[in-house]
Every structure is written in structure tokens, then in C-alpha cells.
């Protein structure tokens, strides 16, 4: 399938060079003749006029061989020609590459069943695309003018046809050594020349990575080792390949190899394995999780086991490299840039698997090469960084000297020792910073060692070492100690105040001077940029968010005049802008965190001082210089100092974070509200946070306004309701008086023949319900009852009336005369 596709592609490319002479005897499609030098599109730089004759001879020889490879019907013929091409491929690399590339690829495709010819073709291609130059090469200088090497140019041509890679990958499955090995070597050359392209092609070839991984199981060491070399390149910077390689049990296989090779004492093969492990974990959270979940951290621990006789047998350079690579792997898992959850769980596992302990063992062992020691300190730093339990453990590590001293103290001793190498001193600072990172207890303990009340004051404490380093007069020691000390104050207001209590006896008999005062004095007297920068960063950290410290600085007589003079000066010394910027920042902090307790330097006074002595704009310009400094962004990016020389040690990571956080606040504090603008500026001049704040307030006001309106409406509603109730009450009162009238009327009407109790009830009713509205109901029921009674009485009356009439009738019947009574009866009934 792929064969026909390939052929049709090449036919399309050069239709005129078809060779029609050879009959197809084995069912093969007719071969095509190879391209000539000119038609193959090889850069003209390969040809040199001086060598024209010899070149021509070689070219014709190669041309003939290529033709034989392509057109011969007999396998033996093609095989011989291929062998000859291989033999020429070093000496006449240009010719074989330029003319024979297609023919050789064709062999890989069509003659793949014959391992011998395939082996020759692969060997020839290997030579043609090798990244190295061969001694016997005819004109090795021919391509030196070109940007890319000969091997690279041929690689590019070879890889234009991605199917070629698929063919070579296919040969990895061939067990025969003479095929598998050159195929592997060819891929190694290709990845050396064009790593990105080959990674992409292998990634999408079916089972490409898996085929390579299978080679690690090959019992022929050459193959396994070369496969490892290929993997070191293949796994570099490609997350997808890294994950597939990890999925194919890479960690198991690699640690098996490392163990076979003897861990740290293993040779370069162990190093290759560690480099691959490192590559697989680099910036790859998924693989880091897998590494931790698969319990591979534990498999690292034998790397750090030092035999007891290390000192006698010494450290081979390979062992140094292997341990350095293992340390790199450890650091990759706990790098400050990793997701926090990965880092903290790896830190825990590294501790539980005994690796942290082993690393601390290396720290305290004697005879450890300095590069190993430095990297071990860095690794310990990152393993304990921000992890309370590991930090606590680190504090308990003791150095095996007499009397035993804490490892932390021993490390700080080397930091303030001018004779120690720069990298080592920087790594100690980093380790110390990591120890203090998010460690309030550690910060407090450090400051505690400096306080007068403490019984621990002595020469051997961490605090004492740092202060003596600060005062040592050696600029690097001063800088390192200042930065270390400033980390005891990061986000810890309590310690900022505690440190104010530290007093120093500078000269025998003299009054003790406060540490802050001493820092100011050193700042004024020192003429070394590095020392000054260190002290300024310490002061900035100290004074930020701490009005008490600001007051202390302002009370030091010459401090503010010195700082303002510095900001305004132009002395053209090295890093002048940075120094001025830092001084401006410190003044700004004094304004921002000023509690107005020093009368001569209140917030307002300081602002006036700035505009008079320095000028508003100038001050802001100088302040801006800090973040413009070339080392600022570098320091801000990563917590670890990356310094190759002493001059590069100027800005510290935590300080840069502080600067970034406070810069806006400082600018605002030193910019006074301009006269005539009562609101302090228009909306246009506001910063992003301010305008968002403004928006928030506007929103608040809007919602409050709405609430107010709502309240008003409710009030009106209640008012009208109240009026309605008032009216209702009046209405009820009216009803009551009406009822009262009715009652009176009824009582008058019913006084004849009604019982005494009734009349007294009516009496009661007429007096009682004067105001009470509730009683009116009672009255009403009473009234109802009375009406009923009355009705009953009326019925009774009617009955008696009827009886009276009957009696009258009877009397009439008996002849009696009846008249007067009838009229009154009728009158009574009418009234009712």
C-alpha cells in the first residue's frame, strides 16, 4: 500500500527518468533510475570547481552503482551494488547521499525481506546522515560555509518523505542484529540532526514509541544502550512522547538498568537512564503524579547511600555525574514551579522514603566534591521548602563534629566564609531561605537567638552568625547575611518588631547600638554597591508594614538626609540607578507606613521633603529603575539565585515580590493631592485597582439609593394604612354611639313588662362602652339578645292580645259591652 503511494509520488516528481529497460521478472514494478546530481536539487555548495575531475570520477562511479541498485533484476546484483555504495558512503558521502538516497530508501521498502541488503542500505544511510565528519571524507570542507552540516541537509531530504521513518521503525522489530542495530543508529543520527521533526513523526507512527521501548528488553547490551541514548533525545521537551514512554513502563525498566549497573557507581549507562527519568518528569505533572503513585521515589534512595569507606575510595567523575543527575531528578519533583499539591506530596514521600535523611548525610559527610555538595544543598532546600514537618526535621540534623552542632549552623558558617566557592555559598543561602519559607516558628527561633533576654546568646547561633556576617565588611558576606536575615521577616510582623530590640556592642565600653541603627550607619559608610543593596533590601523588608521600625529609622538622625541625598545625587557609580531606586523605595516605605509619631518626619513632611529635594517626577523615575534592572525579572521569576559570578548577586526573589506588591502603594502615598482638585484627580488618573474600587463604591451608592427609595415608598404606604385605620376607628366609634342611642331607645320602649335584670343591663350598656371598641361587640351581642327577648315578649304580647280579643268576643257573646281597651292595644302594636 505504502509502496505504491511512494512510487507514484516519486514518479510525479521526475517523470522523465523512468528506466524502461529492465523486464519485470519477479513481479516487481520497473525500477526507476536514480537522479543525476543536478536534478536531485542538492545545494550547489557541495560542488567545488577545484576537485572537479576527481569529483566527476566518483560521481560517475556512484551513478553507475545507483543505477544497478535500482534497475537490476537480480537480488544478488542489487545487493552487491548496495554493498559498494555502503563502502563509498564515507569517502564519497556527498555523491552517495545526493544520488543514492532514493535508491537506498527504495531498497528499504522493496527489498525489506532480505536482511543483508537492508543492512547495507541502512549502514550507507547512517554514514550519509551522520552528524559527525569522517576522516576519510573527500571534501569535508565543502559544506563548511553552510549553516547546517552535511548530515543535517541529507536528514532534511530523507525526512521529507515521512514513510521513510516508518520503514526504519519497522526494522526495529527485526531481531537480526545487523538490521536492528543500524536502524537504531540511523534514528539516533536523525534525532540528533532534526529532533523536533523526528519526535513528531515518531509520535504519529503507529506504535512508534512502543517499538523503541521494546528495545530496552533486548539482551544485547549494545542495542539496549543505544536505545537509551536515542531515548535521551526523544524524550526531551515533548510531553506526549514523555507520557507514552512512561506508560510503557519506562521507570521500571530504567531503574532495573540502574540497579544492574550498580546505582551511583554505575557507568555512563546509569547516567543515561537518569537523564531519561529527568526528561520524563520535566514540566510534566501527569508523569510526576505517575512517578509518585508508582512508588518510584523509593527506588531513587539507593542512589544516595554512601558506602562507609567513601573517603578512601574517593569519587570518580562518573559517580559525581550520576549523583548530580539523581539530585536533579529529586529536585524536578519538588521544584517551586510545580503544582503545590504535587510538590507537597512528593516532599512527604521523599522524607518517608529516607531520601531526605540520606541527603542530609551527604551534606555532613567529609570529602564530598563541592559540586555534589552544592547540588545536595539545593535539593535539600527544595525538599524542605514550605513543608513544616521537613523543616522541623532539618533543624534537628546535627553535624558530626565535637561538640555536635546543628547542620544549619555549620552551613551558615560556610556561607559567611569568604574562602568557600560562590555556588556553595549561594546554595546555603537558598537552603536557609527555603528553611524559613512559610516557617513562622523557624523565623521566631532565629530572631530569638539575637535577643538580649535570651540565654542562648552566644557565638554559635544562627542569628549571631548572620549578624557577624552582616558586619564583617566583606561585601558578599554582608549581602548574603542581609538577605538571609530579611527572610526571617517575610510576612512576619511580630519578628519585625522583635528584631528592633536587638542591640549590638560595637566597641568595648561604648553604648550598645540598635541593629537598625547599625544598618543605617553601615549604609552610609560603605562604598560597596553589593553591601548597600543587601542592607537596603533588609531595611525595606523590615520597615514594610511595621510603623514601629519606620519610627526607629526616622529617629536615626542622618538616615533620611542620607537617603534623600542618594536619590537626588548623580555620582555615576556602578549600578547607581538601582541604588537610587532602592533608596527611593525605602523613603516611600517610610511615608506609607508612617504613624506620624516622629514630628519632624510625618507623612506630610516627608512628602514635602521629596518634592523639594528630589522632585516628584524624579522620585518616581528613580523608583521605577528598580523593576527596570536586568536582574530584577530574573530574580522575580525563580526563588533560587542563578548567579554565575558575584556581580550578579544583587536582587533577591522575596524582595522583588515585596517591591512588586508595594510599588503601587508607595507611589500613591508619595503623590500628594493637588490643590484645586478636591477629589484628588480625575477618573482617568486612577490605577486599575483604584478605579475598580471606585466602581465598587458607585455600585454601593446606587444600591443604597435604591434602598432609600424603597423605604420612602414603604413609609407612604404605612402612612396611608395608618389613616385608614384611624378612619376605621372613628367609624367604629360612630357605630358605638349609634348603638348606644338605639339601646336607649329600646330601653325606653321595652320598659313596660320587661324584667328588672334587663333594664339594669341596658343601664350598664349605656354607661360602659364609651371608648372601648372591643366592648362594642359585647354590646352588640347583648343587644341581639335583648332584641330576641323583645321579640319573644312581643310574641307573648300578641298572644295575650289574641286571648284578650277572644275574651272580648266571648264577653260580647255573653252580651257585655267592651270598647276602651281595644284602642290602646292597637296603639301599642303600632309602636312596635
Amino acid at each position: 500500500m505504502s509502496t505504491s503511494r511512494r512510487r507514484s509520488a516519486s514518479e510525479a516528481a521526475r517523470p522523465s527518468t523512468r528506466c524502461s529497460t529492465s523486464p519485470t521478472t519477479r513481479g516487481r514494478a520497473p525500477h526507476q533510475c536514480g537522479p543525476t546530481l543536478r536534478s536531485s536539487g542538492v545545494p550547489a555548495v557541495f560542488q567545488r570547481p577545484g576537485d572537479a575531475l576527481r569529483c566527476h570520477h566518483a560521481a560517475t562511479q556512484v551513478e553507475r552503482l545507483v543505477e544497478r541498485v535500482q534497475c537490476s533484476t537480480l537480488l544478488e546484483d542489487r545487493r552487491d551494488a548496495c554493498r559498494a555504495l555502503k563502502a563509498l558512503s564515507k569517502q564519497n558521502r556527498v555523491e552517495v547521499g545526493a544520488q543514492g538516497m532514493d535508491a537506498l530508501c527504495q531498497v528499504l521498502d522493496l527489498d525489506r525481506a532480505d536482511s543483508e541488503i537492508v543492512a547495507y542500505a541502512l549502514d550507507a544511510l547512517c554514514n550519509v546522515m551522520s552528524p559527525d565528519t569522517f576522516d576519510e571524507e573527500e571534501h569535508p570542507t565543502a559544506y563548511q560555509g553552510s549553516k547546517s552540516s552535511l548530515g543535517e541537509q541529507f536528514t532534511e531530504i530523507f525526512m521529507k518523505q515521512p514513510d521513510n521513518i516508518g520503514l526504519v521503525l519497522g526494522f526495529l522489530e527485526e531481531y537480526e542484529f545487523q538490521v536492528r542495530w543500524p536502524a537504531l543508529k540511523l534514528l539516533t543520527s536523525l534525532i540528533h540532526n532534526r529532533p523536533r521533526d523526528l519526535q513528531e513523526i515518531i509520535l504519529v507512527s503507529p506504535m512508534g514509541v512502543s517499538k523503541l521501548m521494546d528495545l530496552l528488553g533486548d539482551n544485547r547490551e549494545v542495542i539496549r544502550n543505544d536505545a537509551l541514548i536515542l531515548l535521551t533525545h526523544l524524550t526531551k521537551g515533548n510531553a506526549n512522547i514523555q507520557k507514552i514512554v512512561a506508560f510503557e513502563n519506562a521507570f521500571d525498566r530504567l531503574f532495573d538498568v540502574i540497579a544492574d549497573e550498580g546505582y551511583a557507581d554505575g557507568g555512563i549507562v546509569a547516567e543515561d537512564c537518569l537523564v531519561i527519568v529527568h526528561n520524563l518528569l520535566k514540566n510534566n505533572t501527569s508523569n510526576q503524579n505517575f512517578f509518585k503513585e508508582g512508588s518510584y521515589i523509593q527506588r531513587l534512595s539507593p542512589m544516595f547511600a554512601l558506602p562507609s569507606n567513601t573517603e578512601e575510595i574517593g569519587w570518580s567523575s562518573q559517580k559525581v555525574t550520576n549523583i548530580l543527575s539523581s539530585l536533579q531528578v529529586v529536585r524536578m519533583l519538588v521544584m517551586p514551579g510545580n503544582p503545590a499539591q504535587v510538590t507537597s506530596s512528593c516532599q512527604r514521600t521523599i522524607r518517608n522514603s529516607g531520601i531526605l535523611e540520606a541527603l542530609c548525610g551527604i551534606l555532613m559527610a567529609s570529602g564530598v566534591p563541592v559540586e555534589v555538595l552544592t547540588e545536595t544543598i539545593n535539593a535539600v532546600a527544595e525538599v524542605i521548602r514550605g513543608n513544616p514537618s521537613n523543616q522541623e526535621y532539618f533543624l534537628t540534623v546535627m553535624a558530626p563534629c565535637k561538640p555536635p552542632r546543628p547542620a544549619l549552623v555549620v552551613l551558615l558558617l560556610s556561607m559567611v566564609n569568604e574562602k568557600q566557592p560562590l555556588e556553595l555559598r549561594c546554595s546555603v543561602l537558598y537552603c536557609f531561605q527555603c528553611y524559613l519559607y512559610k516557617n513562622e516558628v523557624g523565623q521566631a527561633q532565629l530572631v530569638q537567638t539575637l535577643l538580649p533576654s535570651s540565654a542562648e546568646v552566644g557565638t554559635g547561633t544562627t542569628g549571631h552568625l548572620l549578624v557577624s556576617g552582616l558586619l564583617s565588611g566583606h561585601m558578599l558576606s554582608t549581602w548574603l547575611s542581609a538577605v538571609a536575615l530579611s527572610h526571617a521577616l517575610v510576612e512576619n510582623p511580630a519578628q519585625k518588631e522583635q528584631l528592633l530590640r536587638v542591640a549590638l556592642a560595637t566597641a568595648p565600653g561604648a553604648n550598645p547600638v540598635s541593629l537598625l541603627h547599625q544598618c543605617c550607619t553601615m549604609l552610609e559608610q560603605s562604598n560597596k554597591v553589593q553591601s548597600k543593596v543587601g542592607i537596603l533590601m533588609l531595611l525595606a523588608m523590615w520597615l514594610s508594614h511595621c510603623p514601629l521600625a519606620v519610627r526607629e529609622l526616622l529617629s536615626t538622625p542622618s538616615s533620611i538626609p542620607y537617603l534623600t541625598a542618594q536619590v537626588g545625587a548623580s555620582e555615576h557609580q556602578e549600578h547607581e540607578e538601582l541604588l537610587q531606586g532602592l533608596c527611593a523605595f525605602l523613603i516611600g516605605i517610610c511615608v506609607t507606613f508612617n504613624d506620624d509619631s516622629v514630628p519632624s518626619y510625618t507623612r506630610e513632611n516627608l512628602c514635602q521633603l521629596i518634592s523639594k529635594r528630589v522632585g516628584q517626577d524624579m522620585f518616581l523615575d528613580k523608583l521605577g529603575e528598580v523593576s527596570k534592572h536586568e536582574l530584577y525579572s530574573k530574580a522575580h521569576k525563580h526563588p533560587q539565585l542563578q548567579a554565575s559570578s558575584q556581580e550578579q548577586l544583587l536582587l533577591d526573589h522575596e524582595f522583588c515580590k515585596l517591591f512588586k506588591a508595594l510599588e503601587g502603594m508607595v507611589i500613591k502615598a508619595v503623590t500628594p493631592k493637588e490643590a484645586g482638585m478636591h477629589n484628588g484627580g480625575t477618573e482617568l488618573t486612577l490605577t486599575a485597582t483604584e478605579s475598580s474600587l471606585l466602581l465598587q463604591y458607585k455600585e454601593l451608592i446606587r444600591s443604597q439609593d435604591y434602598q432609600l427609595q424603597e423605604m420612602h415608598q414603604k413609609l407612604q404606604q404605612y402612612e396611608s394604612e395608618r389613616q385608614a385605620y384611624q378612619a376605621h376607628v372613628e367609624e367604629l366609634n360612630a357605630t358605638i354611639s349609634q348603638l348606644r342611642d338605639q339601646t336607649r331607645l329600646l330601653s325606653a320602649a321595652a320598659n313596660t313588662g320587661v324584667t328588672n335584670s334587663l333594664s339594669s343591663d341596658i343601664e350598664h350598656l349605656s354607661i360602659a362602652p364609651q371608648e372601648d371598641t372591643i366592648r362594642s361587640a359585647e354590646v352588640e351581642t347583648e343587644l341581639d339578645r335583648l332584641r330576641k327577648d323583645q321579640e319573644d315578649l312581643l310574641v307573648l304580647l300578641a298572644d295575650q292580645d289574641a286571648k284578650l280579643n277572644t275574651y272580648k268576643d266571648r264577653l260580647r257573646q255573653y252580651g257585655e259591652k267592651v270598647e276602651s281597651d281595644e284602642e290602646t292595644d292597637i296603639q301599642n302594636g303600632g309602636e312596635c
Binding site: 509520535l203 504519529v204 507512527s205 503507529p206 506504535m207 512508534g208 514509541v209 512502543s210 510531553a239 506526549n240 507520557k243 507514552i244 506508560f247 510503557e248 513502563n249 521500571d252 501527569s286 508523569n287 503524579n289 505517575f290 503513585e293 508508582g294 512508588s295 523509593q298 527506588r299 534512595s301 539507593p302 554512601l306 562507609s308 567513601t310 522524607r351 518517608n352 522514603s353 529516607g354 535523611e357 540520606a358 542530609c360 548525610g361 551527604i362 555532613m364 559527610a365 540534623v397 546535627m398 558530626p400
Partner: protein
């Protein structure tokens, strides 16, 4: 930490059917309504117990998008189990199952246990694929079947655990060659005498003291 067996799983299926959410629900017991597209593959792990034995599941959640197909194919070979997921509210994801299954069968080892999962069972009102259809498909192709909801966690545990049970049974029957790691199964280092993990409090300090 130690385990009797380790099984490798992959999760496959069309994009947006909830593969990553199933994994997150299984490993972290939470649901994330908005999830980024998976790029390539992501790894997750959890320990389960079957038959009183600790079994560690290592799960590779693959990207469903066509663009990553050639990359995700590399994961079939080394997996012992696969969760093939479709979305019951989108018929086309069900229609694509045949393609997925062919792909899986072609690139995986023949013993790989495949569990068919109809996800989003909480969205009954928007259902487009009947449960019976899923059952029928599974029956036809010899798969285990389950409807799940990564949102409500319904059947999520069961899906992962039942797949593991099936693999475990196959091991007991001797179908899997557990010494060949290419099958996606690893025997745990339970009774390994060379367990390198040391106690955190440094009881081995007698040895370590030499270099301290």
C-alpha cells in the same frame, strides 16, 4: 502503599462524553462541571480492594479529539482494561462506538477487558440512547455494560471496580500472563525483602550515622 496487583486502564470515547469527569469522580470524588479539553493523556490513580486484596489502578485518561487519535493509540497495547464511554444524550457518540471498538481491538492485546459505559445518566430528560440499546451493543460485542453519571457519582465506583473484578477473574483463570508487563498487569512487591523504604524517624540511623 503495597498492593497485590496493579492494573493499567485507559478511558476512551468521543470528545465531551465525560471521560475526564469519570476519572476525577473516581480518584477525587468530585465533579467539575467545566472541564478543559484533555490534551493527549492525563494520569490518575487509586487503590481498591477486591477479594480482600489491595489492587492499584493506574488510569490513563485519553483525549477524545480526532487530532490526538494517533497518540492515544499508543496506550492500547499496555492496558489491561479499557472504559469505552459514550454520552446517552448524544446519539452520535453511540454511533461511533464501532469505530472505537475496532481501533481498540486492533491495537490492544486480545485479553483486554472492555467496559462499555453510557455516561450522563442523570440527564434522563435529554436521553437519546435507550439503556436497552447500550445493553444490546455490549452483549453483541462481549463487553460489560453500565450506565453511569460522573455528576451524581452513580455507578462510577462500580464501573471501575467491576472492570477490575473481571481482570482479576481472568488472572485467576490463568488467561493473563502476569509476568508480561505489556499486558498492563503488575504483581505487587508485597513481600519484597529489599523494600527500600526507611522509617521516617530514622530507626536505621545506626547505619546512616556513618555518613552523618
Amino acid at each position: 502503599m503495597s498492593y497485590a496487583y496493579l492494573f493499567k486502564y485507559i478511558i476512551i470515547g468521543d470528545t465531551g462524553v465525560g471521560k475526564s469527569c469519570l476519572l476525577l469522580q473516581f480518584t477525587d470524588k468530585r465533579f467539575q462541571p467545566v472541564h478543559d479539553l484533555t490534551i493527549g493523556v492525563e494520569f490518575g490513580a487509586r487503590m481498591i480492594t477486591i477479594d480482600g486484596k489491595q489492587i492499584k489502578l493506574q488510569i490513563w485518561d485519553t483525549a477524545g479529539q480526532e487530532a490526538f487519535r494517533s497518540i492515544t493509540r499508543s496506550y492500547y497495547r499496555g492496558a489491561a482494561g479499557a472504559l469505552l464511554v459514550y454520552d446517552i444524550t448524544r446519539r452520535e457518540t453511540f454511533n461511533h462506538l464501532t469505530t472505537w471498538l475496532e481501533d481498540a481491538r486492533q491495537h490492544s492485546n486480545s485479553n483486554m477487558v472492555i467496559m462499555l459505559i453510557g455516561n450522563k445518566s442523570d440527564l434522563e430528560s435529554r436521553r437519546e440512547v435507550k439503556k436497552e440499546e447500550g445493553e444490546a451493543f455490549a452483549h453483541e460485542h462481549g463487553l460489560i455494560f453500565m450506565e453511569t453519571s460522573a455528576k451524581t457519582a452513580a455507578n462510577v465506583e462500580e464501573a471501575f471496580i467491576n472492570t477490575a473484578k473481571e481482570i482479576y477473574e481472568k488472572i485467576q483463570e490463568g488467561v493473563f500472563d502476569i509476568n508480561n508487563e505489556a499486558n498492563g498487569i503488575k504483581v505487587g512487591p508485597q513481600h519484597s525483602p529489599t523494600n527500600p523504604s526507611l522509617s521516617p524517624n530514622g530507626q536505621d540511623r545506626g547505619q546512616g550515622g556513618g555518613c552523618c
